[in-house]
Amino acid sequence: MAREATLRKFEPAEAPRVPAFGGGDPPAPPRAFKPIVSNARIAILMFIAAEVMFFAGLIGAFIVFRLASVEWPPPFQPRLPVGVTGVNTAILLLSGVVIQLAMRARASSETQRVLRLLSATVLLGTIFLLVQGYEWVRLIHYGLTLSSGVYGATFYTLIGCHGAHVLGAVVWLGVVLARVRSGIAGRESVQLAGVYWTFVVALWPALYVLVYL
């Protein structure tokens, strides 16, 4: 009787369950994992975050100098070309719109359209740099230099750093353009360069308002 009770204890209460897919096709293998945000995109975001903090430091220093001064711009200093730089700002903003169109065209795999739009972006960026350089030469001729005072030092440091970033972005876009034309560009190369160009374009209006106006 004890033995029967022990056997009953280990008897299954019901018949063993049959798997739901028993007898049918095996389940499909799991799909390859594709990250929502690619590693390259995360890397460019981290890089842009570092660049933003770099410019934040420069802008913070500029804020101290500007707000601490009784009169800004200081007296007897050349006046900045607000009008010409305003037009230059419009050119740079237009290049930002064009690169967004290029990124969308790349997503749709319209290669010829991507080439045209990338070329236009590079052209507009180059025009921006040339106009900035011309204005700089004029300002130096009028006496505003890096060592002429706080006004010149902050101007050339802030605007110069932005100009260096624009130059680097133009070179990057040029390399991407050449690779797309050759057919060896990576899938995300246009997107990554476009994101960095968008950052450089979006930064400029803040600097223009802060420094020129």
């Binding site: 975001l45 933003v52 913070g60 804020i63 101290v64 009784v70």
Partner: protein
């Protein structure tokens, strides 16, 4: 535990009462409230303090947006018969 909290509270109270110790800082002793340079530094500090939060929340917001976009795309690509949630909506 209670003794430690009592000692810490006592130290904080003494430090608050003896506020003259703050004058040992070169920025605090030279910058009076309302002066142009002090205000300029304050604005700069506020701006620089806000930047890391702005960056982090922007990046987090982008990840949330990318996740929602991917989830929406995945729901749109799944066949309706295999998605029981579609029968409930």
């Amino acid at each position: 535990m209670k003794t430690r909290i009592f000692l810490q509270a006592t130290l904080v109270g003494i430090a608050s009462a003896y506020s003259g110790a703050a004058l040992a800082c070169s920025v605090c002793i030279t910058g009076a409230a309302g002066e142009r340079l002090t205000d300029a530094f304050n604005w700069s500090v506020i701006f620089l303090m806000a930047m890391p939060y702005t960056i982090v929340f922007s990046i987090v917001g982008f990840f949330v947006y990318a996740y929602r976009r991917a989830a929406k795309k995945a729901r749109a690509e799944e066949p309706a018969a295999l998605n029981p949630a579609s029968e409930l909506s």
